[in-house]
């Protein structure tokens, strides 16, 4: 965290080295010039574009004359003392700094060498740089990082201590702390081989999927409620479980993409793939009375474009909703063409104030156990009565029912005839099967339909007739003057080859991940950068959301390129990709911020969910089951009082559901659980690529006073008394080992002793204050 000033220092480079257009110049042009001289033709001034080389160097305007700052109008203008001539115009409020002016001048002097925006150029393989310290590591990633460290006249930081490292890989791969036993073993043997084995074990753990899902769900804005107005719940938790499962099964990212964007369009798609297509339903919807359907068609379309472009492309195509993008080559037409991919989805449901919200289509999902039981019951039904006879029985019984009803209503003289028919019908039933068979069959049938009611529902995508889509000038949904458009990818990125008349979501998914025919290589860079961020706390390109002109260029572009290509080479194998990075020495560095060292590792507080999980593990309360309906932990009374249509009261779960992982906590978009919120979990109204890390009194109050944390402290105290030994020192050592994987020092022993009235007490109440203190420590809640 010490290195926070580094990104600020980069622009203030020493001007002796040659300038790099993408790194040094484009960010200035983009930030200070493009809003009037960029891609958006409506805002363009003096008919000058500085985002295209040919236009910027156009002979008429002579804005930029390569090699000659003195002849360049731009240089004259940025130095002008005449307010009418000065660029950028003072009223814009974005003056160039002295350094920026120098950079522009120097760059023109050096020949004004142009380059395409880095993020729109496919990554290429860069040779490993040579390093001075050849003994540091043989891992290919380390060659890049070490070369960089050496270039900045620094040394790589020391390796992390075994205890730190084993905790780190556990948090990074599962979001849970290691057991004391694992720590002890690793301390005894932390050879590279033992380390690799640990990584493999963790990648194979079912908690790996939970850890990755926690991040993915932020990206795709997964939540349990609709978001707008009444914020009613909707059925989607099976999608969450599918994400966990997909990461655990290591489904390659291209397939992972296809199933989410177009699971319903895959040939013979199975139930799981249909659940995955629920991605398309994760957007916020409204069920407010008086909604104008066309307005919300437009709102939903824009929401989908924002999300798909931010999640997969690291692009802000959403910014082109009202006009051409100000900084990137996305046109307003691109925006609506992209939206048109989703025009086959309904989501026009307005179910009033129903709980859960009325959002068809949905599909019903059963657990494996339920599925097995259902199969058994089906077989049992068939054992009593073969399928053909089941159908026949159904038919006869329907007739019987009808006849019985008719008899009741019939006039006296009509009754005998009907009764004869009824008896005939009964005979037919008796001939069909014995009463024993029928009873057996019916009993199984009843059990089956009772079980079927337990299935969970999940929203899915289902292609319908696509709505007619138009470009909406200025984003105005009431304006129908724009041209009708068909699905297409942004024009400057090429097009999708197809012999179909209309492209589908499946075409889009393939284009996003296909390295040859689509933009898989570009998008691999986006994903590689985000995985790097998960493992280091900072992306190689610091801006995880926007790879466009206004984003921050990567600090290590070569390494990022090679990582992106390695993802492709590994055929989008996420586990293999992660393992490769974790085996590097760069990953294993300590986070110590000593000035002369440089480390890529950033210490950080655990994400909200893992703050909860970690406490529950330490206290022994965690119920580690995977998946299922969302759960409701304790929550302050009245927290939902502002919700209406209908009004809601929150009923906390009891029993095991109370102690599930944070990932499963009911995600109420408008009123996210206050514990989650205090630790920066997002509302998931929009895509979140990187959560902020706040450090507020409200978060302190949660750890101090939230009943969940109080209960955890009590349980931890009980564990300490029962398992910690018979003296204060032994118990404290045990408690520290459980929570921090290390023994306490003398100062810690003395300080905590003051919280215990009676050190001999075996009443867990006496030890609760100590347990609370340990659970509240910074160290307990930080991943180093």
């Amino acid at each position: 965290m010490k290195k926070i000033f580094l990104p600020l220092l980069i622009p203030s480079l020493c001007l002796a080295t040659l300038l790099d257009f993408n790194r040094d110049v484009r960010p200035i042009l983009s930030d200070k010039c493009f809003s009037c001289h960029g891609p958006d033709e409506h805002g363009r001034k003096a008919d000058l574009r500085l985002d295209i080389e040919k236009e910027a160097k156009n002979d008429d305007l002579m804005a930029i004359v390569s090699g000659s700052p003195d002849d360049s109008e731009m240089i004259y203008r940025i130095h002008s003392e005449d307010e009418d001539e000065l660029m950028p115009p003072p009223e814009i409020g974005k003056p160039l700094t002295g350094k920026e002016k120098k950079v522009l001048e120097q760059w023109i002097k050096e020949g004004a060498v142009w380059a395409e925006h880095w993020a729109y150029v496919d990554p290429t393989t860069h040779p490993q740089p040579s390093v001075k310290d050849k003994s540091w590591s043989a891992h290919w990633i380390d060659a890049f990082t070490l070369a960089d460290i050496e270039k900045s006249q620094m040394k790589p930081g020391p390796d992390a201590e075994p205890t730190t490292l084993i905790r780190r890989i556990h948090f990074d791969l599962t979001g849970l702390p290691p057991t004391s036993e694992v720590v002890r073993n690793f301390k005894a043997n932390h050879s590279l081989h033992a380390y690799a084995t640990q990584i493999e074990n963790l990648l194979a753990s079912p908690h790996f999927g939970e850890r990755m899902a926690a991040y993915w769900l932020d990206l795709v804005r997964y939540a349990d409620t609709v978001g707008y107005h009444g914020d009613q719940p909707h059925n989607i938790s099976p999608y969450r479980d599918w994400v966990i499962h997909a990461f655990n099964q290591n489904i390659p990212f291209d397939q992972f993409t296809r199933e989410q964007l177009a699971g319903d369009l895959l040939p013979n798609s199975n139930i799981q793939q249909k659940v995955a297509s629920g991605y398309n339903r994760l957007l916020q919807t409204t069920h407010e009375g008086g909604l104008q359907i066309k307005e919300y068609d437009a709102i939903y379309a824009a929401d989908r474009v924002r999300n798909v472009s931010e999640v997969w492309m690291g692009a802000t195509v959403g910014c082109a909703q009202c006009h051409d993008h100000k900084y990137d080559p996305y046109t307003i037409k691109d925006h609506y063409q992209m939206a048109a991919f989703f025009a086959d989805l309904g989501d026009r449901g307005f179910g009033g104030n129903k709980l859960p919200a009325n959002r068809p289509p949905e599909i019903q999902i059963f657990t494996q156990d339920q599925e097995a039981e259902l199969n058994l019951l089906t077989k049992e039904m068939e054992r009593f009565l073969p399928k053909v006879k089941q159908v026949e029985l159904g038919r006869l019984e329907a007739i019987q029912k009808k006849l019985s009803a008719s008899i009741k209503k019939a006039k006296k003289n009509a009754k005998p005839e009907l009764e004869i028919k009824l008896n005939q019908n009964k005979d037919q039933i008796n001939k069909l099967a014995t009463s024993q068979q029928i009873t057996g069959f019916k009993s199984a049938q009843q059990k089956k339909s009772a079980l079927e009611k337990l299935g969970r529902w999940s929203m899915i995508a289902k292609a319908g007739k696509p709505r007619t889509m138009r470009v909406l000038p200025r984003g105005n949904w009431m304006d129908e003057s724009g041209p009708i458009i068909l699905p297409a990818v942004p024009e400057f990125l090429g097009q999708i080859e197809s012999n179909q008349t209309r492209l589908t979501r499946l075409d889009l998914a393939n284009w996003l991940t296909d390295a040859e025919k689509g933009k898989g290589k570009l998008n691999a860079r986006v994903l590689a950068n985000r995985i790097w961020y998960l493992l280091f706390g900072k992306g190689l390109a610091p801006d995880l959301t926007d790879f466009g002109g206004q984003g921050t260029p990567p600090e290590h572009p070569e390494l990022l390129d090679n990582l992106a290509l390695s993802l492709i080479e590994k055929q989008w194998n996420i586990k293999a990709f992660i393992k490769d990075i974790m085996l590097s020495r760069t990953y294993r560095q300590a986070t110590l911020p000593a000035e002369e060292y440089r480390s890529f590792q950033v210490a950080r507080r655990l994400p909200a969910e893992f703050v909860r999980d970690n406490t529950l593990v330490i206290s022994g309360l965690l119920v580690p089951a995977i998946g299922g309906p969302s759960v409701k932990p304790f929550q302050p009374a009245g927290y939902y009082r502002h919700l209406n249509f209908p009004k809601r009261t929150y009923e906390a779960d009891t029993g095991e559901a109370q102690w599930r992982r944070g990932l499963y906590v009911h995600w109420q978009r408008q009123f996210l659980h206050p514990m989650m919120k205090a630790f920066d979990a997002p509302s998931r109204e929009e895509c979140t690529t990187q959560r902020p890390q706040s450090n507020t009194p409200l978060a302190a109050l949660v750890l101090l006073n939230d009943p969940t944390f109080m209960e955890a402290a009590k349980a931890f105290a009980k564990k300490i008394v029962q398992q910690g030994g018979d003296s204060y020192r032994k118990r404290l050592a045990y408690a520290f080992q459980e929570a921090l994987s290390r023994p306490p020092d003398a100062f810690e022993e003395n300080t905590l002793a003051q919280l215990i009235d009676d050190q001999k007490s075996i009443r867990s109440e006496s030890w609760t204050p100590l347990a609370r203190a340990i659970l509240n420590l910074a160290e307990t809640n930080v991943r180093r």
């Binding site: 965290m1 990104p7 409020g93 900072k538 209406n644 101090l704 203190a773």
Partner: protein, 467 residues
Amino acid sequence: MNMHMDSNLINRRAFLAGTGLSLGSAAFNTLLAKDSSQPMYLLPKAKAKRVIFLCMAGGPSHLETFDYKPKLDELNGQPMPESFTKGQPIAQLQGKKLKVQGHLTKFKKYGKGGQYISDFLPWTAKMADDISIIRSLVTEQINHDPAHTFMNTGSVISGRPSMGSWVNYGLGSVAEDLPGFVVMTSVGGRNPQPIASRQWSAGFLPSRFQGVEFNSTGDPVQYVRNPKGVSAEHQRKLVQAITTLDRHRNQTINDPETDTRIAAYEMAFKMQTSVPELMDTSKEPQHILDMYGAKPGDGSYASNCLLARKLAEKGVRFIHLYHRGWDHHGGLKKYMGTCCGLTDKPTWALIQDLKQRGMLDDTLVVWGGEFGRTPMYQGKGEIGRDHHIKGFSMWMAGGGTKGGFGYGETDELGYHAVKDKVHVHDMHATMLNLLGINHQFFTVKHQGLDWKLTGVDHSHVVKDLIA
């Protein structure tokens, strides 16, 4: 984009300032604007130091409060001329026959400025000379949730900071042991519209700038009370042990974040005493309680107005009160009676109380809903009106505004703002101006763009409102 980095920077500043809550974040911008010593957005002088925003959620009818249109009564019951409504957005009246609905109350002129105010608001009428009524507001959103989001964040897309967060971000908070942005919602009234916590979200600003909800019933702030069975003394010892151990450990790891954390724990412990104390109005003199019509702990709008004054005294920068129940699709007359009955006098009392303490001069008070209501009849139950966004009324008082003054006009039926239109962004620009902030330069970078509270289009400060 660089929020992670920025928040660290801010946290460092926070640590230097000694507390996680109150700091001059203006200093932070100075760091970014490397070449200038002063954030560009600060104007030489500020008239207002703080804002109390009285949000009448649901959308009060401008036609039964401040906007008198004789023609409306004249055409009562007749079809609404299509020239007004053609091609305009419409909410619950979609596909219905539109007819003119005359005023459901009487208007009189009040104060030196002779401002029209309806009989529903006798107490507001008494302070006609304190308030500037804007009768030409327009907004862009016709449904409650997005309209609130637009009113609070200047955008309809979720994830943008609300104005309270912006103001704290720009000016910092001077409240010693309280958050700089406090939100309170009152009980009472008719079936209230929901209000999402998005309305006080810090959006892409660091979460420290988010509005903190204070409750006048139950726990004043979530988790502010000790767990059952834990005494104040035990809690004090506990917090002391935690901070001592964090400090001790930090000698080895030397992480500035830990220092911020220690400050946050100390502040949290202080808040455990200061917040319940502040929220307890039982020690206020009886005549003050009577003036507002507040009973301690009743959670009413009256109590919240009184608390707003107390928060303002403590230096809280932005105080946002919500009173819900103004969504009168039907039974408008009856429910206007209810809503005005609960809010009119306390609002008056707040202004008078601020005035008598010399605080109205630097406290900007804003009154209004997320939109207005149609000149057309709606009949859900008794007579009502639908949502309306093309012209409605709000008022401002104190904080450097003129008072006794009306601004802008709607057309003869109260449909379109026709003279001196004030877009929501213009209102934001004006509020920021009063607070000493030039809205054009008040930007923060997110996803590569320079975001403003006042949007991308040209918004203007309504200079006529400023004294």
